[in-house]
Symmetry: C2
Subunit: 489 residues, 2 copies
């Protein structure tokens, strides 16, 4: 690659001659790894014009660098970074010499820390990845996704998709969600009641920002999706963390002064509990009585391979009180970052304005690709294929669990892609998880899901969406062994 003339600037404050400055710029570029072996320097004429200096100055600088083996000359084709130049393996510009700003004071809000755990980016390198929420590339219909993407990149779509949508979404995608996706959950909504988000997490964030402030109270499930807890922490509202039971969130435990209830009725996250119909009605009645809004995260409903899923809580909502959150990231691939939020028009109008303020809109091309993938039936086919594979794995994992005497605390009656597991009291699953890494096993410690006041360390989540069936039994054997050793230690 040729080195662009635009990367050269003269510094009017600099010490030394112009020639020395040019030599230094080039030497710095090479030493920092910014310029690489074989890359072509701008011609002396070009660089001289660009910097507004005499060509002879540039030529002298190049000649000097040639003598020092930083550069090499290939006759009339010009100057190149020499093979003998000292080259660091990667681009590592020097750490800034001086930090005059006291960032600790200047940063008035801090977002690091919190309950959201850091996860292994390199999970694909593990033999036994009982990891949750990552894609299994062997299940994804990659060929058709590419075709849909190409179609969305076609000349016809391109003009529409490359525009600035301001605050709008792809009408094709919205229509599909309204006509096909939501009706499967028993939900009927008009386009004005639907907003596309950067994944379900972004939808939860929007709801938290709009519905809560420092004088309000949110009620959340305990355990729950940790990032939701982090989001509410930054809102600064009061948060009631209500322990869930085998049927999910108990409505009678919700305090009278709750403004917003966050819940996962179809498939509690992470315990996988399904809320029975009677309790759903009870929950809606409770919300009605205390005039609270409910945010329903209907995650993983597509993974119902054991029994048809019950309709969403939102489908029973005659008050317009439920805000519904769905996602395509889970069932397609998490790097997609595409979800949706459904609610009363007054709410969606504000959510749209907040989204526009923060980021305008999710990329148009991604929206259109998903719209095609859905409307051509590839999504449904993929869900069916995935469900079949998950069902097989579920059977294998259940058998292995029995064989190794492990304890299941929650297993989705409709299906799902993970089990919620309980290790014996006194076991710290964070330690076990660390210990298992050298054995190429990934399990997810459960502690981050619990609020600080109810935190338990002997739970863990066992995902089976990214591990092939034949790896499950040997992986669980290693886990069982580690647990046994820890117990007897």
């Amino acid at each position: 690659m040729a080195i662009s003339v635009d990367t050269f600037f003269l510094n009017s404050d600099a010490q030394g001659t112009l020639q020395a400055q040019i030599q230094e710029m080039i030497a710095e570029g090479i030493l920092s790894g910014r310029f690489r072996v074989g890359e072509k320097l701008p011609s002396s004429r070009k660089l001289a014009v660009h910097l507004g200096i005499s060509r002879i100055t540039v030529t002298l600088a190049y000649t000097e660098l040639l003598a020092n083996d930083y550069l090499t000359s290939r006759g009339r084709s010009g100057y190149f970074v020499s093979e003998n130049a000292p080259v660091p393996p990667i681009y590592t510009p020097p750490v800034q010499s001086r930090e005059a700003v006291d960032w600790d004071t200047v940063l008035v809000r801090k977002f690091t820390g919190g309950d959201t755990p850091r996860k292994a980016r390199d999970w694909r390198g593990y033999r036994y990845p009982f990891i949750y929420g990552q894609a299994d590339p062997s299940l994804f219909d990659h060929a058709n996704w590419r075709l849909c993407s190409l179609r969305a990149l076609g000349q016809k779509d391109f003009a529409a998709l490359t525009d600035d949508y301001f605050d709008q979404d792809d009408p094709l995608l919205i229509e599909y969600i309204a006509r096909h996706t939501l009706p499967r959950r028993g939900v009927i909504a008009r386009p004005e009641q639907i907003l596309i988000t950067l994944g379900a997490q972004n939808a939860l964030w929007l709801a938290g920002q709009l519905l809560l402030n420092q004088s309000s109270k949110a009620t959340i499930e305990d355990p729950t999706y940790y990032t939701l807890r982090d989001q509410l922490h930054h809102v600064g509202c009061q948060v009631d963390c209500i322990p869930v039971d085998q049927d999910g969130l108990p409505p009678q435990d919700i305090s009278d002064d709750t403004d917003v209830i966050f819940c996962t009725p179809s498939h509690q996250s992470p315990t996988t509990a399904t809320m029975p119909m009677a309790r759903r009605r009870e929950l809606l009645q409770r919300a009605h009585d205390i005039d609270a809004v409910i945010v329903e995260d209907d995650y993983e409903f597509e993974m119902s391979f054991m029994r048809a899923p019950s309709p969403a809580l939102k489908s029973l909502d005659s008050d317009g009180r439920v805000i519904y959150v769905g996602s395509f990231s889970k069932s397609l691939f998490p790097g997609l970052r595409l979800g949706y939020i459904v609610g009363s028009e007054a709410f969606i109008r504000q959510a749209r304005a907040l989204r526009a303020n923060v980021l305008r809109h999710p990329p148009g091309h991604v929206q259109r690709t998903v719209a095609y993938f859905l409307s051509l039936g590839h999504y449904d086919a993929q869900i069916r294929r995935t469900a079949k594979v998950l069902q097989d794995r579920r059977q294998v994992i259940e058998e292995a669990i029995i064989e190794h005497g492990l304890t299941v605390s929650g297993e989705g009656v409709y299906g799902g892609s993970s089990l919620w597991m309980q290790a014996p009291d006194g076991i710290n699953m964070a330690h076990i998880a660390e210990q298992l890494k050298p054995d190429s096993v990934i399990v997810e410690p459960g502690a981050p899901f619990f609020s600080a006041q109810h935190r338990k360390h002997n739970f863990f989540r066992l995902g089976y969406s990214s591990i092939s069936a034949n790896r499950i039994a040997p992986g669980l054997a290693l886990l069982a062994q580690a647990l046994k050793q820890a117990e007897t230690a």
Copy 2:
């Protein structure tokens, strides 16, 4: 398309027989436009199994709907929505009957309103679109973009890109920005100092959230990018709006208690003023003296077709005090939603955590496509091509402006894609813009760029990035005519 069995649910509260319920569900689906002419109903066997009822009940319901002409039967291939069924033109589910929630009270924060204007989505239908910030599809290298996208969709990249990145970015894109993009602005940064954002607007939002709260003060240019003002309004900080002059923001007008200065030194938005080097040093000195942080929005630097751009303010920053914002959305296409923010590691760490909290990360595939488009040289080629076309248009527009006696208030000395125009005093450009729409002319009223206290109504922005050269003169003729009429009225 076949109607999925999953969209049928029995309502245990419903009145009437099971057969009547099924008829009603199907009729509702047809009447609301959710089921369309020719779409196939599930087989009676399938629907009966799904609902857990007798097949004869379903068959009776279907027979009844057949008699009423809602459905038609094609012998053994099943039941379909009849051509004679009453079908609304688009899907319009009924408006929810009851809104039990008082959204005005429940929504504790409101984001509608504000200074950000609503713009015409249908600008492509106009003959004379002097619109700003939209792509010109005739300039975009669509073929190579598709190739890059396909490459990023290839089997090799796919696994990496479909993963949940948690809080990380595509290392390829980050490396390119560090090695090639930033050095052109005289900026040297390490990967840990760079974060990818959902466009420049998202970058400004992140900075506002982290650096300001209700007890701090921001200084912004006046006029300025209106959405920035909206963002700061929602932060709740004090905002000083400092009128810019021909050289941009005057440093001596920045008050001592300013915490953060937002500015556009290379190319003031919207006046296009370029800040001279001497003033840049003065601005840095002023920021140093009052210990303020500077957020530099370096927009449109690629559009420097008249003169090489001066290096970014950030390149002169020896304090680590400048946070730099760049974007690919403007120079590629705005629907892309991809930008970056560069700053001290302590700042980027928090920006990364905030981004992860709100939306995790920008879609991986979009990042990788841009990385390829950049590293294969297509981006540079496109910038050169665009610059050439803009240069031609600039000449045409300047000539037409002189011909029609219009007044330029600001014109970028480096180039750019718009002019900042001044109509005679007393003219309200919002009215003129409305008036010109039937003549197929779009111009952008300038008032929203001004703060409330300094608002002027006789300015406007004339974009030339989406209008072909031969349309410029006739479009300006219409504009000049409207202005003349308004003056004499």
